[in-house]
Amino acid sequence: MKTTLKLGLAMAVTMGLSGAALAQTKEIRVLLANHPYGEVLKAAIPQFEQQSGIKVNVESLQESQLTTKLTTEFATNSSSVDVFMTRPLQDGKLFAKNKWYEPLGGYDFSDYPANTVSIVTYDGQPNIVPLVTEWQVLFYRKDLLEAAGLKVPTNFDELTAAAEKLNTGGLAGFASRGKGAAAVTQLSTFVYNFGGNYLDKGVAVFDSKEAVDGIRYYGKLVGSYGPRGVTSMSWENILPLFQAGRIAMWTDASVFYGQLTDPAKSSLGADKIGIANVPAGPKANSPFYVTSWGIAMASQSKKKDLAKTFLEWATSKELAAKAMEANITMARTSVWEDKAVTAKVDPGLVETRAFVAKNGNPSDRPFMSAVGEARDLIGEIIIESINTKGESPQIDQMAKDRAVKVNTLLRDTGEYGQ
């Protein structure tokens, strides 16, 4: 009798414990980027927790720190991350090659443009759900252009002329990123519009005449009319200068439009700020139009069912529509076709997006595993070009030399010619 009692007690305790353990496992760890969409998710997560009964532990990190943290955790096989935000063009190949993404065979990708899905597909299976897109645009000061009697430039000749005319003592006529590796993405449209490219079928081609012409032109514009010290400037340095009224025209990603026109963050006033397509080049008119952020499941996750539930919620059409209201440009096609949604989005974004959706290039950098190193190598040429206003006789040789180095990287990682 006593033994039975003890046994029963022991069983009860064990069951109780395992019950508690089960309740505890309805918990996932999610890594988000410090990005407006990350904020949208964070604000909505309590609601998700209530509906699903899954507790979500969120960590937010700055983009490069996010990559570093994920890489370290995954490479050492010690990760407890279930779902994470990721940059398809920056992390994609590296993470896919190391099999850190869980393939998303069962996910419905029909609401995403085909070329967007192809960028996140590895070994025949999509690995990432695209979240946010961005494209290159020209931000300009309506008041300054008008005062100078200038139209919004539509080709590179007009752009040069406008930059020259607007460039006076305290005002930079034109700005774009000059900080080596960070400038590679913003240079891409200029290279494309001159008829060049970074890679072609897994081979470095940025030493072609077209690409070098693009690099020289970028250097001439930024070097002659850019703010002082531009070779150490990325968007985080240019944005405050533009907001302070020290820059007349600026090419960068569409994502900054919201901050520029936000009265709380800019003293200029939204009515003075215009947005337009990047001017056409001599050979093409094809700005980058990329999936800047996506979300993925970790292959090391031990709670894939819960992770999948979260992923489907985090990429739902409802949340996408909500994010669009905050001028976050989402990847889903349907939200751009829904008039009720686009009515709440800034018309400048709707117009420029309509253009790039037809004419855009789906990459803004050399798309390869060793992208960080390749960007630094191309960055060296950009800095030389800016420092010499595109005149340096060394640029051609540098481009050839760096292309050889990038090809070596491609060979080392088994991606050459692919």
Binding site: T67, T68, G229, S232, D376, D412
Partner: protein, 292 residues
């Protein structure tokens, strides 16, 4: 009983055991592991498992011009920063060693840069150094002087970073030397004064030689620390423009977390480790010589 005698006879091993284990786990293991990694071809971008390749990483990295430049830059940064800090720090200590009104307030103010978070310092100085809207150029230009590019140009970036390091760490030398000065007896200086020595002679021939062991210790401590500087440079320039402010620590970070060349990054960090180790050995040797 037997156990007790075992404990008794081995007590000199048992007591320090936790400390030894701690050091082994937290210091010796990482060094050995880094050494091992430096002998493998571990790169994440290849997606293949690491294999042992002997010393070939060393051959590659040590001859790489970018590495050699970073090595040279590490020394330039460290020695110029510490030299300025030593001169200014000792001078400030000598001044503060005199009795004057507001001395404790000045001492307190001196502490502030020391306790500031390096990344915050970096962000503030970045604003300060901005060539277009920064305070530094505003001041220069309103004095009729030409503005500088500060951290935005390869020629001035290292100098600008040295300035920040000097601003933050000179007080440390001052405080250590000040403590040393406080422990000195006044008698030799008094005697010299009676014999007709002037203030400069007293400082040069009596005070400084007496406080020299403390100065040397402070400088070497600072040297070890400056060699390893990472936070300020990372926060302010990330090694740029181009590679113009890359030190060994920065290039080590880039190789591991941006290029994912773990094996080669380990080589860079081993070199830095050996340099710092050499400095540490120097400080202990010097300490012993001064004691004698």
């Amino acid at each position: 009983m037997t156990q007790n005698s075992y404990t008794d006879s081995n007590i000199r091993w048992i007591y320090p055991l936790p400390a030894i284990l701690f050091v082994a786990l937290l210091m010796v293991f990482p060094v050995l592991y880094t050494t091992y990694i430096s002998l493998t071809n571990w790169t994440l971008t290849s997606g293949t498992a690491p294999s042992f390749i002997g010393l070939s990483n060393y051959g590659q990295v040590l001859l790489e011009p970018r590495f050699l430049q970073a090595l040279w830059r590490t020394f330039v940064f460290t020695f110029s920063a510490v030299a300025v800090e030593a001169v200014l720090g000792v001078a400030a200590a000598l001044l503060l060693n005199r009795v004057f009104v507001g001395r404790s307030v000045v001492k307190l103010l001196l502490l502030l840069p020391l306790v500031a978070t390096p990344v915050a310092v970096g962000i503030v100085f970045n604003l300060f150094y901005d060539p277009t809207i920064g305070l530094a150029n505003y001041v220069l230009e309103s004095l009729g002087l030409p503005g500088s590019s500060w951290i935005s140009h390869a020629d001035t970036v290292l100098f600008s970073l040295v300035l920040v390091d000097v601003w933050q760490w000179t007080p440390m030398i001052t405080l250590i030397v000040l403590a040393g000065l406080a422990s000195l007896s006044d008698e030799p200086a008094e005697a010299a004064r009676i014999d007709g020595a002037n203030e400069w002679q007293i400082i040069r021939l009596i005070t400084l030689p007496m406080v020299m062991p403390v100065i040397v210790t402070a400088v070497i401590l600072r040297l070890i620390d400056a060699l390893k500087t990472f936070d300020i440079i990372f926060a302010m320039t990330g090694g740029g423009p181009g590679y113009a402010s890359e030190t060994l620590n920065l290039i080590g970070y880039k190789y591991s977390f941006e290029y994912f060349r773990m094996g080669q990054a380990a080589v860079i960090l081993m070199v830095l480790f050996l340099i710092v180790l050499a400095c540490s050995v120097a400080i202990t040797r010097l300490g012993k010589r001064i004691e004698r």
